[in-house]
Symmetry: C2
Subunit: 255 residues, 2 copies
């Protein structure tokens, strides 16, 4: 008997993005781990609890264990040390969560989108195993990524036949611009709005709060829709207090 | 009243990758469109029919309309013309399928993985609309991509924090090698086995027939597992008569 940890992709905002495998996994869960972050905490937390209420069968009992994701000191003069401290604290907190399970129990992390894409849970679990203080088996249940959700809502493919797709954090786009020789670029986690400074002749397919009642979609030639996106973004951010957006940039083809 | 076309992502091999939205969409379907291809036809066809049997409620009636994806003449001397002919034929066949629906009916295409990634259905539907002979509304239901399924089965993230991910067809990798400045490269549709000729010091996470009983997973430093993958690949191809594999290449970090 050993503890079992499930890393469940819950899709990108629409509760019906949950897969049949994810619903089954929820119903095998004894403890739902809720990792709360400072930003957007309450809405994300409520969404996960709502998934549990909706998809876990009435007869089943489960516990909820909450843990705050440690805050990262972004002002620290010793940046690398601060990242290491933050990482260590995170590993310790996850370890504690898992140690709280009984030997035969299953604990689940509910990960936004797909657990393989811009999410640290799998690596943190590896680090917990490396420390060797708690033993467990783990399984990853893939989910609908926000990249797939974005393309679906715009009803466009991410690429045309034979083309490549590049997925990049906003930080890289801001510093290096569009990568050469790639027609399709998906940008995630772009708090700097790197698209504002792009001169390239591209179409943009932009989406915020995908799959939720707050969803906003804008598409068109970047030069023509730049102001519209900026306006939507500012208004939504002011209203909700946070922003979660993703976008696809596609180089325009010669007519 | 107008015809409604659903493009449903069915995930990458595991029936339980279907989302709750996909199950709902199947249950709103009057006609399931089965597009059969020459390669791997029978298994893919059987899998889709099995999904219908398993997830469409017993009381509901639906029809199945089959269409053969036109064969592409890859030996034609006029290659560009041959692609155009093939494309036109495909559009005509899809148009005919949709025209076969009654005005108020819903027809669904069941697309492997996620419809936005290396699948032509959305673009063919756009072309059918452009011709203006049949009118319809369409909706895309995103799915678990084979990229997410691959990472989940290997229990690895596609990238580490701050890194980009590049998704490319095998053909491009064979001609241009690993793109510069990208740590993580996912290769799809690689009939040429481009990984065999790579000299780069990378880890490979390789998977074939993901999520199915035939699934094969191999991972390790490319130089060390090259022969193993080749052997597994040849044996499986000989046994099943076809091969569907995907892999992640990750540049090795300095220790």
């Amino acid at each position: 008997m050993t503890r079992r940890i499930l890393v469940i992709g819950i899709g990108a905002g629409d509760p019906e993005h949950l897969t049949v495998a994810a619903v089954r996994a929820l119903n095998e869960t004894d403890v739902v781990f809720l990792v709360t972050k400072t930003e957007a905490t309450e809405e994300m937390r409520a969404f996960r609890l709502e998934l549990c209420r909706r998809f876990i069968e009435p007869g089943r009992t489960y516990r909820v264990a909450e843990v705050a994701d440690p805050e990262r000191d972004r002002t620290a003069p010793a940046y690398a040390q601060s990242v290491e401290d933050w990482r260590g604290e995170r590993i310790a907190r996850y370890e504690e969560l898992i140690a709280g399970l009984d030997e035969h129990e299953t604990g689940s992390f509910l990960v936004w989108g797909d657990p393989s894409l811009y999410d640290g849970t799998i690596l943190v679990l590896d680090a917990v195993l490396d420390r060797g203080l708690v033993a467990f088996e783990s399984e990853v249940i893939p989910g609908v990524s926000s990249v797939s959700a974005l393309a679906a809502r715009h009803r466009v493919p991410l690429n045309h036949a034979g083309e490549a797709i590049h997925i990049t954090p906003g930080r890289r786009l801001a510093s290096a611009g569009l990568p050469a020789g790639v027609e399709n670029v998906v940008v995630m986690l772009d708090s700097r709005q790197a698209w504002r400074d792009l001169d390239d002749d591209v179409d943009i397919y932009w989406g915020a709060f995908l799959g939720t009642p707050d969803e906003i979609l804008v598409s068109g030639r970047l030069a023509e829709v730049r102001a519209t996106i900026e306006q939507h973004r500012d208004q939504a951010r002011a209203r909700k207090g946070w922003m979660f957006d993703t976008y696809l940039l596609r180089r325009r083809r010669m007519p």
